[in-house]
């Protein structure tokens, strides 16, 4: 189901359909988070991604009025599509080889890790994340707040209409 959604993002010609396929994939990943006892991240995933980011995508699509189908038949650059498929297969091969070869190291290291292990409880999960984020990584957490402020200011600055841009209806195009 996740893969169906992911492929739908790529092959759907209509951006709205692609965004809805993305929702399918994001919900599937949230389900996988729950299956791995990362309940807090699953909730955050649904709220932030499916709730905020995809809605932002849809809002921009509707705002720009670009929800017409894109022509996927024509290849914009010569041979680009075949090259992309080759790159994809190569990337998948490299990643798969890395996973298959690296699992041995992970298994050996996890022998003592499971003993310490994450407690399989939602409250304990949230407590552990809070300890980690606000304890060990508190500097990074503060930096994310700076990043968010920068993003908000930059967005307002970018999407703001300058006073000189406001022109009468009969005005010339800027």
């Amino acid at each position: 189901m996740i893969l169906v959604g992911a492929i739908g993002v790529v092959v759907r010609t209509n951006p709205v359909h692609a965004a809805l396929s993305l929702v399918l994939t994001l919900f599937g990943i949230a389900v996988l988070f729950v299956a791995q006892h990362a309940e807090f991240l699953a909730a955050v995933q649904v709220i932030v991604y499916a709730g905020a980011i995809v809605v932002l995508f849809l809002f921009v699509i509707m705002l720009l009025g670009v929800d017409r189908a894109e022509d996927l038949r024509t290849d914009a650059l010569g041979g680009q599509r075949g090259l992309a498929v080759v790159v994809g297969v190569g990337l998948l091969g490299v990643l798969g080889a890395a996973i298959v070869r690296g699992m041995g190291a992970v298994v050996t290291r996890s022998a003592e890790g499971i003993a310490v292990g994450t407690v399989e409880d939602a409250d304990a999960n949230i407590t552990q994340i809070a300890r980690s984020v606000f304890g060990d990584h508190v500097v990074a957490f503060e930096l994310t707040s700076v990043l968010l402020v920068v993003a908000v200011v930059g967005t307002v600055l970018l999407s703001r209409r300058r006073p000189t841009d406001v022109r009468p209806i009969s005005g010339r195009p800027s």
Binding site: V9, A18, Q36, V60, T155
Partner: protein
């Protein structure tokens, strides 16, 4: 269907996230709509998140999940800034094709 029969091991999760990452990368390469390219970047970020959670659980460490939290914040900021750039570009010109945007001059 396989997931219903076989108990999912970390190997399955990692392979699934590798597949997702590959699909996102191919999508960025193939698609010419900047919005859809952003969606494919989101796909790649989610694949990496899944890898973080899987390996963090496998190694018995909570750091993977807190890193995913930071990745979510950075992804949100990136999407907001990128979409505002797209909006401000689209206000000036009507085409929705990254091949037409090869020059910086507005």
């Amino acid at each position: 269907m396989i997931g219903l029969v076989v108990v999912p091991t970390p190997m399955w999760y990692l392979l699934l996230s590798a597949l997702l990452f590959t699909i996102g990368a191919v999508g960025v390469l193939v698609r010419r709509n900047p919005l859809v390219m952003f969606m494919c970047i989101e796909l790649m970020l989610n694949a990496v998140n899944l890898t973080f959670v899987t390996l963090g659980r496998r190694l018995g460490s909570i750091d993977g999940q807190s890193i995913v939290l930071f990745v979510l914040v950075v992804a949100a900021a990136e999407v907001v800034v990128g979409l505002s750039i797209i909006v401000s570009i689209m206000r000036r010109r009507s085409g929705i094709n990254v091949d037409d945007l090869a020059e910086l001059k507005g």
